[in-house]
Point group: C4
Chain length 383, copies 4
C-alpha cells in the first residue's frame, strides 16, 4: 500500500525571561545619563513601572507611594476595595486562612457583591493619596464601572482580564466596544492582556492608549497549568511591540506596550524593555514590600474564580521597603532590589539614554540558564 | 588520505505537553458557549473524556459514574474483572503488597486465568450500571473475547496494546484483521496505541472508528525507560490528527483521535485537543478520585508483564470526587480539578465553540517550562 | 567606523540517550521472532552485549558466565589481573578504601607493575572458564602484550584507550600500526574508542574488525568534566555507523560498531542499536550483579591515572543476578533488568527480526526527557 | 479586517560551557608533546592561565606563586590593596561578616578611599614577589593610576570593568582613549570585558594587546540576574576570537583573547581554548587554594557596588594547594584539579601541540549536559 504523505506543521519557538540575555553594546554610557521615563496620554512618569492591580498590592495608600516614586499603582475596582467598607479586614481574612482551605476562603471573600458607592469612594481615596489615579475593571463591567470611576476622578482606565480581545462573543452581556468606551470616558484607556501581534493590532485600531502583554507567566497565576494557554513573555512582548511599531509607522499613533507578569528581578525588567516594552507591570516584588497591604502575602485576581481558580495565595514574605525595591540601596544581590538602578545600568551598557534608544540598541540572544546537573548538585551542597 | 564524506540524518524534534503552550486567539467567547462534545459511531458524549482501561480505575460502578458525567469509562476485560469472581479482592491484594515485592505480587495476581464466563458477567454488570458499554481487549484475544463481549451487551470494542499495527507478524497466533473483527462484531471498534501518521492511516483503511494515540508517556508506565520506544504526546497527536484529516478529505469518513497517556492537568487535556485530538483518555487523575476502585493506588496493564514489567503500582492518593475532577468546584489550583471547565475556558480563549473549531483556531507554540536553576532553588526554599 | 563582518560557525547539535526516543513502526512482530545475534570474525554470539573491560566487572569467572549467557566479557590485561597473583585482594583494597582517600588508593594499587607471566596465566584462566576469550590492552602495550595473550589462547584482541586513532604521534613509543598488529596476532582485533566518522574510517582502512564508540559518557568516567572531550552517544554512534555503512558499500567488509559507555537501561541499549550499533558494551549494570568481582563497587580504568584521574570508585550496589539483568524475570521496572527482553520487545515494535533490520526500520526522534519544574517537585514530594 | 503582517526577528542561539563538548580528532599525540604557552607583548608564559584581579585571590604573594607556576596573577589596584595599609585586615573583616549583613560590610570596606601612595607600594610588593608585574584599574581611574603603577614597576596594565567599550559617554569624566593610554604607559595594555566581535574590533583598532571576554558568567557575580546583560562564554569567546582572526589577517597584529569568568574545571578551560581563547582568567578555583588571601572566601569587584551590588561573598572553601589545582597530582575527579594536565590531555586528543593548533583542530559541538529527571533522582539518592 502506498500511503499518502502527511505533513505536520513546525512549532514556532518562543522564549521566556530565563532563556534570553541582553548583549552589551559597542558604545557605553554613564548610568547617570539614562532616563527611563514613560508616558500615558498626557501623563508623564519618571520610571517605567506600574504596580499590578492586585488586592494585596495596590491600596490607595500604596498607589500614593508609587506616584511619589515616579510610577503608577493601578487599583482593582472589582477586588476587595469595591466590595468592602473595610477592605483590609478582607485581606486579613485571606492572610489568616490555613493553607488547606485558602482557595475556599478566597472564593468566599470575593462573593461579597461589588458596590458602586464603594467604587467611587475608593477612587476618591486614590485621588486623596496623590498622583495620577489609575483603576482597573474587567471587560464585563467596564461599561458600567468605568464612567462611574471617571466621574469620581479616575484619570486612567485599565480594562483587564486573562485574555482580552477586540472581538468577544457572549450571550450574557453585549460585547464591549473599546472605541465606544474610550469616547465615553475620554481619558487614556489601557487594555489587556494579549500576547499576539494580530490581537494587539485589532485593539490598537480601536483607539486605545496602551496594551498589557502577558498570559500565564505570573508567579501568583497558574493559568498555564490549568488551561495550557500562554506565550512566554519575551516572545509575546517582541511580537506585540512589533505590532506597535507597525501601527505607529502606519498611523503616527504610538501605543504603549506594558509587559505584565512573571517579572521578578531587574534582569527580567530589562529583558522586557529590550524586547520592546515601554514599561512593565510588576506584582510579586511589590507584594514583598513592607508597604503592601498584603503584608507578605499575595494572590492573583483569577485565584478566587468560583469554578476554575488559577493561582493561589502565596506567602512571598515582606522583606524590603518600596524605596529599596525601586531605588536601593540594595542589600540583596539576586536582582530583586533597586530595579530602577538595574534599568539604568543596563541602558548604560548598550549606550541608550532613553527607553526608545534601548529598544533600538539592545540585542537579545537565546541563552538558556537551564538547570544543569552540576549546578544543581553544587548548590544542593550549599543549601 | 582523502576520506569520503559521511552524512548523518537530522533528528526530527518532537514535543511533549510540558514543552508547548496554546496561543490565545484574536476572538474570544464566553466559556458558556463552549460545547466540547464527542461522538463514537452512533453514540454521543457531552465531554471528550474517556477513563483508561486500568483495573484500579474502571470497575462497572466507575464506568456508570463516567457515563452519568457524560463521558466513557472503558473496562479492561483481561484484567482482574475477567479473572476473579471478586475483582476487588485482587485489587486489595495489590494495594496491600509491600513496595519491595509489589512487582512480584502484580505478576502473581495476573497469572490467574481469564474466564469467558466472567468476561460476559462483567459486561452485564457494566450494562446494569448504565451508559454506553465500552470494553477493552488485547489484539491477541480480540477474536475470541470481542464477540463474547458484544453478545453480552458491549457497545464499543477497544483493542489496545502498547503498540498496535494493522500488520502484525506472529508465529503463535494468526494476525488480527481489524476489518474482519469490525465486520464480525458490528459495533464501533477503536484501536491503539499508535504514534505515527503511517500506522494510523493503515489502521483507518481497515474501517475502524477511533485511534488511541500514545506510546510511553503515562505516569504508571515506564515503556520508554524499559524499551526506549515512544513519541511525546503533542507531536504524536499532531501527526495522527493530520492523518485523520487526510483520510477524511480523501474518504469522507471521520475517525476519532483519542490521546491516551501522560495527561495530568486541564492544561494537558487542552494541549492534546489543540494538537488535534477529538478526545482524551485519562488515567492518573481518575485514579485519584474517591470513587476509583484502586482507592488511591494505580498501575498500568504492562506492569504485571511476567518477563518485562513496565511501570509499577503508584500511590497516587485519593483526594477528590469524580465530580470535582471533571466539573469542580475546584479546591486546587494545579490544574488537576475541573478538567471540563478548563476545556471550556481554553476554547473560549481562542473563540472556539466546538472541538473542531478548537482544532482550527488553537495555535501551539514551543514554550518549554524547563526547570531553571533559579526556579529550583526558589521553590526548594518553599518546600 | 565601518566594521568588517565577522562570522562565527554554527555548532552541530548532538544527542545523548536521554534526548531521543525510538518511533514504533508500521509493522509489528511477536518478540519471540526477534533474533538479536552478533558476530565478531568467525565467532557467533546470541546476544549483542559485551561486558566492559573493567576490573570490578570482568574476572575470568565472570567472562565464563557472560559466554554461557551468549555474550562476551572482555578482561583487561593491564588491570589487577595482569598485576597481582591474587587480583581479588587488590579489588578488596579498593573496596575497603574510605571515600576521602579512594583516589590515592586507586593510584597506589595500579602502580604495581604488569607481569607478562600473569598476563598469560589470566588468559589461560579465561580459557578454562569457557567461551571465546577476549582481552583488552592499551595502544601503548598492544605490540608487546597482544602476541603474548594470543599465544596463551586469546581469541579476540581489544585495543582500547580513552581516544584511539590510527595516527598517534609520540616521542616515548613508536606509533602502533593496527594493520601490522592484526597481521601479527591473526585474530579479530577491535579498536576504541572513537566518536567520529573520519577517525572510524581511518581505523577501518587498517583492516580491523570492530570499533568501540564512546568518549566521555560512562557513569564511572568523568572525562567530559575533566577534559571537556566527548560526543553524546547517540550522535557518535550514528556517525560511526554511517562510516561503517559507507565502508561496507565501498569495500564489502562489514566492521562491527559497538557502543561503549553510558548505558544503564534497556532503553539505552535499544537507542544505541537504533542509532546503528551492532552491539553494546556495558559497565554499570553488570557491576550491579551479584557475580561481579567488585561486589557492588565499580571504577573506570582512567580513575587510577596518576596525574589526571577521571572518574572514581562508585558504590553502585549489587542487586540482581547476571541472569536477571540479561534475561529477567525482572523485579524492577526502571529498565535495568532483562536487557535482552527489552531488545526483543523493541525490535518487535518496529517489526525487525534482526539487528540489521532494526537499523533500517527504527527511526530515532529528538525527544528530550528534561527535568521540568513540575516533575521535579512532584517527585520530590514522593522521595 | 485584513491585518498587516508583523515580523519578529529570530533570536541567535548562544552557548555556555555546560552546553558544548570538544570532539576528539583523527590524529592524537602524547600529552607530553603539548605546549600550552602564552605571551603578552614581550612576556612569555608557560601556561595560559591568569588569576582574576579579585582581592580574595591575588595578593602580592599569590602573584609571585602564579609567576613561579608559569602564569600570571593580576592584582586589583582599586581593591583593598590600594586602600589599606594592612589589606589582609580588610579581607578578614569581610570574611568574618555574618551572612545577613555581608553586603553592607562589603559596601563599607570599599568606601575607604584609594591612596596613590599605597597603589605604588603594592606594585613594588608585586615586583619583590617576582615575575611579570600585572595590575588592574577601572576605566574611570586608568588615566590617573596606570602611569603611577608603571612608574612603580608595573609591566602589564589591565583596564577592566563589567563592560568596557572604546566609546564611552560620560558627563562626570572625560572618555578614556585606549590609544592615548597605551602611548603614555608604553607597556602591554589589556582591556575588558567585552563579548562581541564589533566591540572587540573597536578596541583592537586602538592598538591594545589583549581582550578579556566575559560579561555575567562568573560564580561570584550575578550581573545577569541583576541586569539581564551577558553572553554565555563559549559563544562570546568564539565571536571575539573570530574578530581577532579577522584583525590579524587584515593588520598582522595578533591580539590575545582571554576568556574571563565562569570557569570551574579543566573541561571549562579547554572549551574556552577550543572556542578560540589564547588564555583564560580564573577566579573560583584559585580562591579555593590554601594560598589565596581569602582563605576559602571569595567575592567579585561588583559585589561592593554601593547602589547595585552584583554578586556576594561566597564560601568556596580552601581545599587544595595552588600546585595541585594547576599541576596535580589530583585527588579529586571533578575536573577542578590539575588544570594544566587537563589542557595537555585535551590538546593531545585532537593532535594539537600548541594552543594555535588547538584552535584549528578542536571542533565544538552542541551537547547539553542538562539535568534530566533520571539523573536528578539517581543522584539525589546518593547524596
Amino acid at each position: 500500500m502506498v500511503l499518502p504523505r502527511v505533513q505536520v506543521k513546525e512549532l514556532r519557538r518562543t522564549y521566556g525571561f530565563e532563556e534570553v540575555a541582553i548583549v552589551p553594546g559597542d558604545v557605553t554610557t554613564n548610568p547617570e545619563l539614562s532616563v527611563p521615563s514613560f508616558e500615558i496620554g498626557p501623563y508623564q512618569f519618571t520610571i517605567p513601572i506600574m504596580a499590578s492591580a492586585m488586592d494585596a498590592i495596590v491600596s490607595p495608600a500604596f498607589a500614593g507611594l508609587m506616584a511619589k516614586a515616579g510610577g503608577i499603582g493601578v487599583m482593582n475596582l472589582e477586588g476587595v476595595y469595591g466590595r468592602y467598607e473595610d477592605p483590609q479586614s478582607a485581606i486579613e481574612e485571606v492572610r489568616a486562612a490555613p493553607r488547606e482551605t485558602v482557595t475556599e476562603v478566597l472564593q468566599k471573600v470575593y462573593t461579597v457583591p461589588l458596590q458602586e458607592r464603594l467604587v467611587q469612594e475608593r477612587v476618591r481615596d486614590l485621588k486623596a493619596a496623590g498622583g495620577v489615579v489609575a483603576v482597573s475593571v474587567t471587560p464585563q463591567n467596564a461599561k458600567r464601572l468605568a464612567p462611574l470611576a471617571v466621574e469620581a476622578g479616575a484619570q486612567i482606565i485599565v480594562v483587564q482580564s486573562t485574555v482580552t480581545t477586540a472581538r468577544h462573543i457572549s450571550n450574557s452581556y453585549a460585547g464591549l466596544s473599546f472605541s465606544d468606551l474610550k469616547a465615553e470616558v475620554n481619558v487614556p484607556v489601557l487594555i489587556g492582556n494579549t500576547v499576539t501581534a494580530s490581537a494587539t493590532l485589532e485593539i490598537m485600531e480601536q483607539g486605545i492608549d496602551g496594551i498589557f502583554v502577558g498570559v500565564g507567566p505570573g508567579a501568583a497565576c497558574t493559568t498555564r497549568d490549568v488551561t495550557g494557554m500562554g506565550v512566554p513573555q519575551v516572545s509575546a512582548t517582541m511580537e506585540c511591540a512589533a505590532a506597535r511599531d507597525e501601527f505607529f509607522a502606519r498611523t503616527g499613533k504610538y501605543v504603549q506596550i506594558i509587559t505584565d507578569g512573571g517579572i521578578r528581578t531587574g534582569g527580567d525588567v530589562n529583558k522586557a524593555l529590550a524586547a520592546g516594552a515601554d514599561a512593565v507591570m510588576i506584582g510579586t516584588p511589590f507584594a514583598q514590600t513592607f508597604e503592601a497591604p498584603g503584608q507578605g502575602f499575595n494572590w492573583g485576581m483569577a485565584s478566587p474564580h468560583p469554578a476554575l481558580p488559577r493561582g493561589t495565595r502565596l506567602n512571598v514574605g515582606a522583606s524590603a521597603s518600596l524605596e529599596q525595591v525601586l531605588f536601593g540601596p540594595s542589600r540583596r544581590t539576586d536582582g530583586t532590589h533597586n530595579l530602577v538602578g538595574a534599568i539604568k545600568v543596563s541602558m548604560s551598557m548598550v549606550g541608550a539614554q532613553t527607553i526608545k534608544e534601548f529598544h533600538e540598541k539592545a540585542e537579545l540572544v537565546s541563552a538558556p540558564t537551564i538547570a544543569t546537573e552540576g549546578k544543581i548538585f553544587q548548590r544542593a551542597g550549599q543549601i
